[in-house]
Amino acid sequence: MDPAITITDLAVDRGGRPVLHGLSTTIQRGSITGLLGPSGSGKTTLMRCVVGVQRVRSGAVTVLGEPAGSPALRRKVGYLTQAPSVYADLTVMENARYFASLYGVPAAEAAAAVRDVGLGQAAGQLVGSLSGGQHARASLACCLVSSPELLVLDEPTVGQDPVLRDELWGRFRAMAAAGTTLLVSSHVMDEAGRCDRLLLIREGRLIADDTVAAVRAAAGTDDLEEAFLRLIKAQEVAA
């Protein structure tokens, strides 16, 4: 089967400054790929390119066989922005139902998505009155309603307690097993170990693009945090 995402020589400028410098990678279907790197390294920009909302300078991004941002992809790709983007003056369920209606998905799916993110009890609450973590999960629910083939999640577990984080990762793993492709950004290294593959990005360049095991082997340590530090140092020495 063809890959879920193919990125070739992608270069992006934001605010007149280069953010991504000729990046290339391939992401297979039905896998979880972790996108890791310090803040400001270009993670969000790369994700915006995949969902097709970022103006690019050069290069190509192909998603599920179509150029990123093609109209046909709008039903197949779900995008969770880093800042929760839901309506604060609607309830959790009203938000989920509205996003479900955009995909022609029945209201029952909206209710299921709200339950899946652990907001069943808060479904009737206005999003504006929720805690930060709940707010972020309401946003995630709106992204799950359409059961997309590709999920692009920008820091989905930020601000969540360890139990919920574990549950959410369990959910992501189950979706991947069912064939969904996930691209998940994080700056928490202990989450990296839950992915199939890792992309480590620093200053707009990929410094690692491999399976978790291979990244550990290359750096000569099982501790991923330490592994990334070693890879960064190795890159600096080479440069």
């Binding site: 970022q54 995008y79 922005t81 983007s85 003056d89 509205y98």
Partner: protein, 245 residues
């Protein structure tokens, strides 16, 4: 464009309004209070109230919907919901028409309340039909909405969005013939007035005030305002970009 998505977007906008009781209250009550002030301001000149009161019934929804829409659209932009919506199957036209439909409902409610209040409580009695007054008020609300949508593109924050009201609305209000009748304006002011859509909305209301039956001028004026709404919506749609820098 997809009717199901347009309707559910309109429903969503109305649901947001419904949760905001204070805004609903202000939308429904403020015009009636202002009309009462105007009524007693012109207590000695009842004929003036008949003219000015009627025009205000058309001006309130215009200004109000301009403000509501520009702030609502700015919130869509700053909260990230707009960018998110544009990654879904929603079309730009679905969004604009959804907003239009929702605000037309809100404006019809506002216009009905203030027109009936003006008629029964304040004795405002146009020659033409009240239904026509309400219909023109709704078209004006749509004009305010379409211009607000367009104006919100140029605003980076709420302060700027609110400041665009005087820029887009006040010149129209000053030159529409309410303060100084159009035939007494300098030629160049008249020419500007001719180019502003609110001028035609006000003239249409004056026609309803003085003529028992709808006139040709009235229909022409309403069509001009409708055309301006479509034009502003097209300009607004052009400013909604799926890709940004």
């Amino acid at each position: 464009m997809n009717p199901r998505i347009t309707l559910s977007t309109a429903g969503r906008v109305l649901r947001q309004l419904r949760h905001d009781h204070r805004t609903v209250g202000l939308v429904l009550v403020v015009p009636a209070v202002l009309l009462t002030l105007i009524k007693y301001l012109f207590e000695a000149q009842p004929a003036v109230f008949q003219g000015v009161g009627l025009i205000m019934l058309g001006v309130f929804p215009f200004i109000l919907m301009f403000l509501v829409t520009s702030v609502a659209m700015l919130r869509e932009r700053t909260s990230g919901t707009l960018e998110r919506l544009l990654t879904t199957p929603l079309g730009k036209l679905d969004l604009l028409l959804g907003y239009g439909l929702a605000f037309a409902v809100a404006a019809a409610l506002q216009a009905a309340v203030s027109t009936l209040f003006a008629y029964f409580a304040l004795g405002l009695d146009p020659r033409g039909s009240l239904a026509l007054v309400i219909a023109i008020a709704v078209v004006n609300a749509l004009l305010g909405m379409a211009l607000g949508l367009f104006a919100s593109t140029f605003a980076r924050n709420e302060f700027q969005a609110v400041q665009f009201m005087p820029v887009f609305a006040l010149p129209q209000l000053l030159l529409c013939g309410l303060f100084v009748s159009r035939d007494q304006m300098a030629g160049w002011l008249q020419a500007i007035s001719d180019a502003l859509p609110l001028t035609y909305a006000v003239e249409a209301l004056q026609e309803v005030g003085t003529q028992a039956e709808p006139t040709g001028t009235l229909w022409r004026d309403v069509s001009i305002v409708g055309g301006a709404v479509v034009l502003a919506l097209i300009l607004g749609a052009a400013t909604l970009r799926r890709r940004s820098g």
